[in-house]
Amino acid sequence: MNPLALTIMLLAQITIACFTIYFFFKVLRSPGKEEGDFPPGP
């Protein structure tokens, strides 16, 4: 694969993947807002 295309692809995909994982972990680690904190649906 051409090096410039490969660099851009990896840069874009890794950046987005990292942010997604970061925000998702942040959601999971936020205190007091997990399953038990929510009333069950009707």
Binding site: I16, T20, K26, V27, P39, G41, P42
Partner: protein
């Protein structure tokens, strides 16, 4: 007050449902095609800029508007907007938030039913041994109600009704049903997509055959990611990037407001909104870009992709490509591909049912079951013409007015309301209420100034799209006094069906076919003279396309379809207008009831 006391069962369920609402077929089909057509690797720059300046702000606006409205017992845009602004008009602008969902669901459930049907056909081996043309022909026969592909009469209608019934049944179980589907569907979708993306990224040149000797998945990836930096100065590329961000996040529909209205009053929206947005981007940029283009280039060659990249590839090409993987793997790949499209579709179509149900429950005390069944019936009535008259433009007309124009108009209106009428200071406070992350304060100014400006550009860009989408050329012609030539895809020309009329005139012109034949001959001559195999393959694809269009233009049935389109398109518009006015009338009735009960909003 409203008896609508549902809430989300868990935070993860809410984020998955929001992400599922955003992740749709466009993540896998629209994004790679847009990137290929707009600068390759350089497209990612305007794309990410638009995500940060328009996508994230719109997500925050819609999440906070929804949560704000939910605090006052409003779970649907007409009265969410009404709660935020003085004046009687805003609730009628909020009609877009129900109208768009019902109208889009009408044709979106049809696409969803194709994916459901194609899962069964993949398992049943319908595509085994079929050539590429036969697989494409299968799809054309499938959507032609008069032809039975499997011996089952009206198969497309049956699958559509089954799909709609499934949606209605899940919706009748309320938010709990939606959340359960998101919790199962989203991980499965990602799993299926990862499986196919690995194949796409590792295919290399193993798919090359005698028929397509230059086929290479690497060419596909190079084509998708090699940047053409000069494209960054082209307004067309920026408008395409803004449009892609807009449609991929499902903003401007009213579904995000509705989902957010069921949150607790101080529950975080900043982190939830950003997390759901990034999840959509992950599916689009990481997974969506690694499947269709590399796999198609890996078997058919890059020249074929350049000429044919589009939405139709999902159903007309992919089943043929999967056949190249052998009998067992082709079944697995078919189930993965159409399964992931099905989950992408159903998590979005379920979201489209909730605003109507929320509205009817808030205003008329309808039960979940009654709301879901009435949604199913309305969608069936509105959607049946897209099934029966698919080839006559009804489907495309719904997609254009409800799935494109309405979104931009509503997003522009809600951004103005949020930033300028409700007030950015109050709005910013609302966004940050209960936030689990600290948002940079520059976002406040972006929401107030940049986002509405960008939306305005997108809207104006769609109204006055210049001929050939050539903005630089159009401005220079305008400067030299030659006027502004509109493209047939512009809203103004669409209103007059200019594209169809032009095509009819071209077909009826006796000079058209000889001219096309001459062009085909010229391509063939150039192809015969070309020594380079890759260049020869490009000419071959161009020649096939040209001969295909000569065949279509010479077919009297095609002219007949175009003439019928001129009849069916006004009918589709009449249906959409009827729906909008019907919902507006219901909003008015709800208003009079509120006044009588003394619970009218400010």
């Amino acid at each position: 007050m409203s008896t609508n006391n549902q809430q989300w069962g868990s935070r993860i369920g809410l984020i998955l449902a929001m992400a599922g609402n955003a992740v749709g077929l466009g993540n896998f089909l629209r994004f790679p095609v847009q990137a290929v057509q707009n600068g390759g690797g350089a497209f990612i720059i305007p794309y990410l800029v638009c995500f940060l300046l328009m996508g994230i702000p719109l997500l925050l606006i819609e999440w906070s508007m929804g949560r704000f409205g939910g605090r006052f017992g409003n779970h649907c845009t007409p009265y969410i907007l009404d709660t935020m602004a003085k004046g009687r008009l805003w609730k009628y602008f909020g009609v877009f938030g129900i109208f768009t969902n019902i109208a889009v669901a009408a044709y979106y459930c049809y696409i969803e039913s194709w994916t459901m049907s194609y899962v069964f056909h993949s398992i049943g081996g319908t595509f085994t041994g079929k050539s590429q043309a036969e697989v494409a022909g299968f799809f054309n026969d499938y959507v032609d109600i008069g032809v039975s592909t499997t011996g089952i009469p009206y198969e497309a209608v049956i699958f559509y009704i089954v799909c709609l019934t499934l949606n209605t049944w899940i919706l009748s179980r309320g938010l709990a049903g939606v959340e359960k589907v998101a919790k199962i569907g989203m991980p499965l979708l990602i799993l299926f997509a990862v499986g196919l993306a690995i194949k796409g990224l590792t295919l290399g040149t193993s798919g090359a055959t005698l028929e397509h000797p230059t086929a290479s998945a690497i060419d596909g990836l190079n084509f998708l990611w090699t940047p053409q930096f000069d494209s960054l100065t082209n307004p067309k590329v920026w408008l395409a990037a803004a449009g892609q961000i807009f449609f991929t996040l499902s903003v401007g529909m009213g579904t995000i407001h509705c989902y957010a209205a069921y949150m607790r009053s101080k529950q975080d929206i900043a982190l939830n909104g950003v997390a759901a947005g990034f999840m959509n981007e992950f599916v689009e940029v990481v997974l969506g870009a690694s499947i269709v283009i590399p796999i198609a280039a890996g078997y058919l060659g890059i020249a074929w992709v350049q000429e044919n990249a589009g939405f139709g590839m999902a159903f007309q090409t992919m089943p043929y490509l999967f056949q190249q993987w052998g009998p067992t793997l082709s079944v697995i790949a078919g189930v993965f591909w159409f399964g992931l499209l099905f989950f992408a579709g159903i998590t979005s179509s379920l979201a489209m049912g909730t605003p109507w149900m929320g509205f009817m429950r808030d205003e008329f005390m309808w039960s979940q079951k009654k709301g879901a069944i009435s949604f199913g019936i309305i969608v069936l009535i509105l959607g049946m013409p897209t099934v029966l008259f698919y080839n006559y433009g009804v489907f495309d007309e719904y997609d254009y007015w409800a799935g494109t124009v309405s979104l931009v108009v509503f997003a522009l209106l809600e951004t103005i309301l949020f930033s300028w009428i409700f007030g950015i200071n109050k709005g910013w406070k609302e966004i940050n209420l209960g936030a689990d992350i600290k948002l940079p304060s520059i976002l406040k100014y972006i929401i107030k100034w940049v986002t509405p400006t960008m939306l305005l550009f997108v809207f104006i860009g769609s109204v006055i799209t210049p001929k050939g989408n050539d903005w630089a050329g159009a401005f220079s012609k305008l400067g030299s006094g030659e006027g502004w030539a509109l493209d047939n895809s512009s809203l103004i020309k669409q209103l007059g069906n200019a594209g169809i009329k032009e095509e009819i005139a071209t077909i009826q012109n006796p000079a058209t076919i000889p001219a096309l034949q001459q062009e085909a001959d010229a391509i063939k001559t150039a192809m015969d003279a070309e020594a380079d195999v890759k260049e020869k393959a490009k000419y071959q694809v161009k020649l096939e396309k040209k001969l295909g269009s000569i065949k279509t233009m010479s077919d009297p049935a095609h002219l007949n379809i175009l003439n019928k389109k001129l009849t069916y398109i006004p009918f589709a518009r009449f249906m959409l207008l009827g729906l909008f006015l019907g919902i507006a009338a219901l909003v008015y009735v709800a208003y009079t009831i509120r006044v009588k009960q003394g619970r009218n909003t400010p």
